[in-house]
Structure formats: C-alpha cells, structure tokens
C-alpha cells in the first residue's frame, strides 16, 4: 500500500495545468489476442489525469478489451494474450514485479451491468477497504463508507437502510453503489465499461452528473455506445474501429471536426 500513498501525495502537489500535463497512463503498441483472434492492433494512447476520456466505436471494435487491459481484468480469461506496454505513473503494469491485486486497487472498475455483491449496502462499500486494510478501526471504516456514499450521491437515499442488501436497490442506485464501492478504495483511475447501458434515462442523467463531479479527484476512462454521452461527459475521445484507434483528440474537436471519414460516418450515425 505504501506505493499508493506516495502517488497520492504526488497528485496533491500536482497543480493541474491544462496545457502541459504528464499523461497518467501511456500505452505503447498494445496487441491483444483471444486465441487466434487479433482483437487489438498496436494501440498507442496517452490518458491525461483528472480528465474523462471516452472510448467510442462500433460493437466489437475492441474498446472494452482495451479498457480491461488497463487493470488487467483480461488476466482472468485463459485464452487472452497481450503484447506491448501499458504504464501507470511511468510504471509498466505488466511487469512481473507488479501485484495485480494492488494494481486493481489503483485502477478501479465499474461494469456494464450493475453487479453489487449480494451483501448489505454497508458491506458492499466496506469490502474494498477491508481487503486492502485501508481502515485502522471501525470508526475509520464508517467514515470511508459515509464519504463514498456521499460522493456518489447515494447517502441520502440509503442512510436509513445501510444493512439492507445492495441487490434490493433500483438499477441506477445499484450502479451508483458500484461507483461508491470503487471510490471507497481511493483509486487513481476509474474504468467505466458502458456504465449506463442498463439504466433508464433519468438514472443515466444522475450517473453522468456524478461522473462530472468525480473527475475532480479521479482520472476516468469510459466506454460508451452513446455519442451524446461521450459528448456530454468527456474531455477527450478515442474512436476505435476494428481493433485500431482511428482518431484521438479533444472531444469538441472530434465531434465538430472529425479528421477521419469513418469517424464522421460513425458520429453522424451512418454506421455503427
């Protein structure tokens, strides 16, 4: 855990400078294979800290695969192979010395379908701090749970029923619970894999608002199918197509003035 603390202090000192920011995540020539399928081809991408980066593209273009490379969730798929380097704060996360468990505490993830544990709301949020030893005693833990639920905007809705199962909440609340659960371990980066695709429009609006608030403290990478969502929440956008990045840049730039023809077709809904 000591490594995390060092970086946390680093981040405090880093006054965000809009123009020249060191990328927090850099990927170089990332290739991913599922068995014989070549899913990602030579991905180079720099992710800036405390921004929201959106990954867009048609289904099966590899954006979710790329996302899962960043916290090594692909390790759980036996047939999956990866080459190239991904660095987090300048450190190769595929290095042998890296403990994946610690990596995933630094790079949290929110999934497509809300997947709270079938435990109480409190235990859902407290689970991460418990396994990572982030709380010295139960008062500490209560505070972490309170802060996380507060920040995810769920506190007022659930404060009277912290011991009810997380699975009993509504879909939007469940997804915010998953976000609260993720920020409880105080990660540097939060990966979101189409977090709103299972939610209704109202719940989606709430989650999007939450994302905008969260970027003050966290770097967020979000995979989305919705152009509007990418336009609303992200500062930068990468357009994936057939396992490659065709275009990457400021969101406003990509949506108003795409340089590649394919991007333009996709954004305007001509294919996808």
């Amino acid at each position: 855990m000591n490594i995390i603390n060092v970086f946390e202090e680093d981040r405090m000192d880093n006054t965000p400078d809009e123009e020249v920011v060191e990328p927090i995540i850099q990927t170089k020539d990332v290739n991913v294979y599922y068995g014989d399928t070549h899913a990602l081809m030579g991905i180079d991408l720099d992710i800036s800290p405390k921004r929201v980066t959106a990954l867009i593209g048609p289904s099966g273009c590899g954006k979710s695969t790329f996302l899962r490379c960043i916290n090594r969730m692909n390790d759980t798929i036996p047939t999956c192979r990866m080459t190239g380097t991904i660095t987090l704060d300048g450190e190769n996360i595929y290095d042998k010395k890296i403990d994946v468990v610690q990596l995933r505490a630094r790079v949290g993830m929110v999934f497509q379908k809300p997947n709270p544990f079938p435990k109480s709301i409190y235990d859902n949020v407290a689970y991460g701090p418990r396994i990572h030893g982030l709380a010295a005693n139960s008062t500490d833990l209560d505070e972490i749970v309170f802060n996380s639920l507060q920040r995810s905007g769920l506190w007022n809705e659930v404060k009277d029923r912290l011991d009810t199962p997380g699975t009993a909440l509504s879909g939007g609340q469940q997804q915010r619970l998953c976000i609260a659960r993720t920020i409880a371990i105080n990660p540097e980066v939060i990966l979101m894999d189409e977090p709103c695709s299972a939610l209704d429009p109202i719940a989606t609006a709430i989650v999007e608002e939450l994302i905008t608030e969260l970027k003050e403290r966290f770097t967020i990478i979000i995979v989305t199918h919705s152009m509007q969502q990418a336009a609303r929440v992200s500062e930068q956008t990468a357009f994936f197509h057939l396992g490659k990045i065709l275009e990457f840049g400021d969101t406003s730039e990509i949506f108003t003035n795409p340089k590649v023809e394919k991007t333009k077709d996709y954004i305007t809904g001509r294919f996808g």
Partner: protein, 460 residues
C-alpha cells in the same frame, strides 16, 4: 503421548505463531496497516500455517506407520525361529504379542519370550511415541520462529498464503485420482497373488466354483475350485431379468411423463417414482426375501412349478424395481432434450403424438437411452445387498430363472466376511472377482459416457 494432546499442543504453537507474526508485522510499520503489503492477519496466518504443517506431517507419518515401526522393532528382537516363520504366521505371532501387551486373550500358551517381547513392545511403543511427539513439537516451534523472522512489511504473505491454499486445493482434487489408483493397485496386487495359486485360465473359464479349500491336507473333496463362469452367468441372468423389467417400465414412464402427463401429474409422479431411487438397497433385499420370493414360490406351487425359494427371478424382479428410477430419469432427460423444433416439424406434418414419439423422438433420443441402459446394467451387475439377501450361495450354472444362482458380489461378500485367512486362495479370489467386477462396470460406464457425449455433440 496421546495424539490428541499433541494436536492441541501443535495448535497452541501455531496460535502463538499467528499472534506474534501479526504483531511483528504491525510493529514493523508502527501500526500503519496501509504500509504493509498484505493485511496483518495474512502475516499471522502465514506464520501459523508454516509452523503447523511440519508438525502435522510428522503426526500423519506416525499415525500411518508408527504401529508397523513398533512391530518391526519388536520382531527384530525375537529369535531366529520366529524370523524364519512365513509372513502370515509371523503376523499372527505379532498379533498375539500385541494382545498380550494389551492384556487380551491370546491364541497360544504364553512363553517367557513372549512376555519379554510384550514388555519390549510396550516400551518401544512408549519411546517411539515420545520421539515422534517431541520431534513434531520441536520442528513446529522451529518453523514458527523461522516464519516470524521472515516477516517484514514487504513480505508478500498474502500471495504465499494463497499459493499454499492453492496447493491444498490441488491436493484435494488429486484424492479422487488417488482413490482410483488405490482401487486399481490394491485389486491388482491381490489378484496377482491369487494367480500364484490358481491359473488365470482356470479362473476365467472354469465351470466349477467351490472356494472351500482344505484346512487339513487329509481332508477329502475340498481342494477348492475357482472357475468364475457360474458366478458371471448368475450375475448376467439376474441382471437380464432386472433389465427386462426396468427398461420397459422406466422408458414407458419417462415417455408418459414427458409427453402425455399434465404438468401437475408430472409434478406428483416424477418425485414419487424417484423415491424408489432413495430407498437403501438393504430394504429392497429385505422386501425381496420377505414378500417377493415367497409370493413367487407360492404362485409357482399353484400352477405346479417347483421354484427355489432363492430364485433368480425374485432377486432380478426386485433389482428391476430398484433401477426403474435410474432408467426413467435418464430417459426423461434425453427425451426432454430432443429439440422442440423436431416435434413441431412432425406434428406440423399431421402426425399424431404417438407417431411423433415412435418415429421421431425415440430414434433421436436413442443414444441417450442406450447410455441409460448401459448405466443400468452396470448398476445391476455391481448391486450387492439385494442378491446377498435374496439370491443363493451355491454356484449353479443354469439359465433357468426359477432356480437359485449366485453372483459375483454375493461371493465377494461371502469370502470376505467371517473368519479370514490372509494369503489363502479363498480370500484372494474375492479380490480377483472384485477386479473383474471393476473392469466390467468401468467399461460399461465409460461406454455410456461416450455414447451420451456423442449424442450431446449432435445437438450442440
């Protein structure tokens, strides 16, 4: 020293290791948990496990081999005439010494040598148990110290602990393999020893089974014959009768329940029929001997047939009842898994339900039904209690279901219960029969699995 006390001591040592290991980890970072690689408890468990395992290993070795060790030490002190005895007689002698030591009755007059040996036995037992116990405690304590010394904030104790857990999981799943190895090797070893006494061809093709070997050389007419053909014939006869009952009844029940019965009727009948599968075989055996055999015998008398009270028919009939649920539930599964589209196609052409079943469903479910049949046959061949209680003991080479026959399983049980003499062809022949039984059932199960796998591939 009592092994229970030893286990408690080992547990205490590892508890201490847990407490000190955890404390050392916490002290190393002044209580700042997040500076540790793993949670404090992981360091504690690491020390606890490292200290417990070596002691436990020694304990297991003691438990498995300690008695043999004491026996061997004791035998080594005895005179040459004992050393020169056959393995079997020496084991008997040792048994008497053990009984003498435990102040139980023994089978021969007590000599001074035996009393001495019994004293020596007790002393050695005491000494060896102390040696094992002390070395277990010593090694555990050393391991505890070593593991606590190793603890530092950078020690990946969680990863190490998890590796140990994973090794434990692998070991557990290897036990299934070990069981098979144990079965095969013990059966083969004893069978080979049996074949020293009786040639393989006599066993496999002999027509006479009477395993009573002479106790004395001058006894008449008891040389023992080990021809297994009558046993296999009897087994097959009873299995055949059982399948003759179970196959039509089971299959028809499955067809009726899947194709004709209403949902409600199915919900009642299916569990009722499966109740038959939950009844212990000893109950079937009692039912066969109490109800079925007398009923068959008396109905035979009515029509003037002489039927043995332990007829193959009675045993086969009851065994048939026992395997009805096996056939019906397996057939039920395969019939329900025939795709609805096939049914629709047939019904859409104007076929009746019966025509659909007979022409479409049964043919496509046939591999599954064959596999159910094979499994049922394997089950019937290996079934013991029904035949022990309802079939005969005398090996009778006949195809007449009204006569008494005996089976492989009945003979295995008869040969191995009651007074045993190890090394006699009689006892060893049980293992040879066991091996034959194992091979046959294994073959049937294997074929059944293959057939059903082929069938699944067809619809995947």
């Amino acid at each position: 020293m009592n092994s229970l006390i030893l286990i408690v001591i080992l547990m205490l040592i590892s508890t201490a290791a847990f407490i000190f290991g955890r404390k050392k980890a916490l002290n190393a970072v002044n209580g700042k948990v997040s500076a540790l690689h793993s949670l404090p408890g992981h360091y504690g468990w690491f020390s606890a496990v490292i200290s417990f395992l070596p002691g436990l290993t020694i304990l297991i070795i003691w438990f498995l081999f300690g008695n043999n060790l004491v026996d061997n030490f004791t035998l080594a002190t005895l005179g040459g005439e004992i050393q020169n005895l056959s393995d079997f007689d020496r084991a008997l002698y040792m048994n008497d010494i053990r009984n003498l030591a435990a102040q139980d009755a023994i089978s021969r007059p007590v000599t001074e040598a035996m009393t001495n040996a019994a004293h020596y036995y007790l002393r050695t037992q005491e000494n060896i148990s102390w040696i094992f116990a002390l070395s277990a405690i010593g090694i555990s304590a050393l391991a505890a110290l070593f593991s606590i010394r190793k603890i530092s904030p950078d020690l990946r104790s969680r990863n190490l602990l998890e590796r140990l857990i994973l090794i434990a999981l692998v070991t557990c799943s290897a036990i299934a393999i070990l069981t098979t190895v144990g079965i095969v090797s013990s059966l083969i070893v004893e069978t080979l020893r049996f074949l020293d006494h009786v040639p393989l061809t006599d066993f496999l093709f002999g027509l006479k089974w009477s395993p009573q070997t002479a106790l004395r050389a001058d006894q008449v007419g008891s040389s023992g014959a080990f021809g297994a053909i009558p046993l296999f014939a009897g087994t097959l006869l009873i299995t055949f009768i059982a399948l003759l009952i179970a196959l039509p009844v089971g299959l028809l029940s499955a067809i009726y329940m899947t194709e004709f019965a209403s949902r409600k009727a199915r919900a009642i009948f299916k569990p009722l029929l499966e109740l038959l599968a939950g009844i212990p075989t000893v109950v079937y055996g009692f039912f066969a001997a109490l109800v079925v055999a007398p009923a068959i015998r008396s109905s035979g008398e009515v029509i003037g047939l002489e039927i043995a009270s332990e007829s193959a028919l009675a045993a086969g009939l009851v065994m048939g009842i026992m395997i009805i649920p096996l056939i019906s539930s397996l057939s039920d599964d395969v019939i329900s898994s025939v795709p609805q589209s096939l049914r629709d196609a047939s019904l859409g052409l104007g076929a009746t339900k019966t025509e659909t079943i007979l022409n479409i469903i049964i043919p496509s479910a046939l591999p599954g039904i064959v596999s159910a049949f094979l499994l049922a046959a394997s089950r019937a061949i290996g079934e013991t209690m029904i035949v022990v209680m309802a079939a005969g003991m005398a090996a009778n080479l006949t195809a007449n279901p009204l006569e008494a026959v005996t089976t492989v399983t009945v003979q295995i049980l008869a040969l191995l219960t009651g007074d045993q003499e190890f090394d006699s062809a009689k006892t060893l022949s049980a293992f040879a029969l066991g091996l034959a039984l194992f091979v046959i059932t294994l073959f049937l199960n294997f074929m059944a699995l293959r057939v059903v796998r082929k069938y699944q591939e067809q619809y995947d």
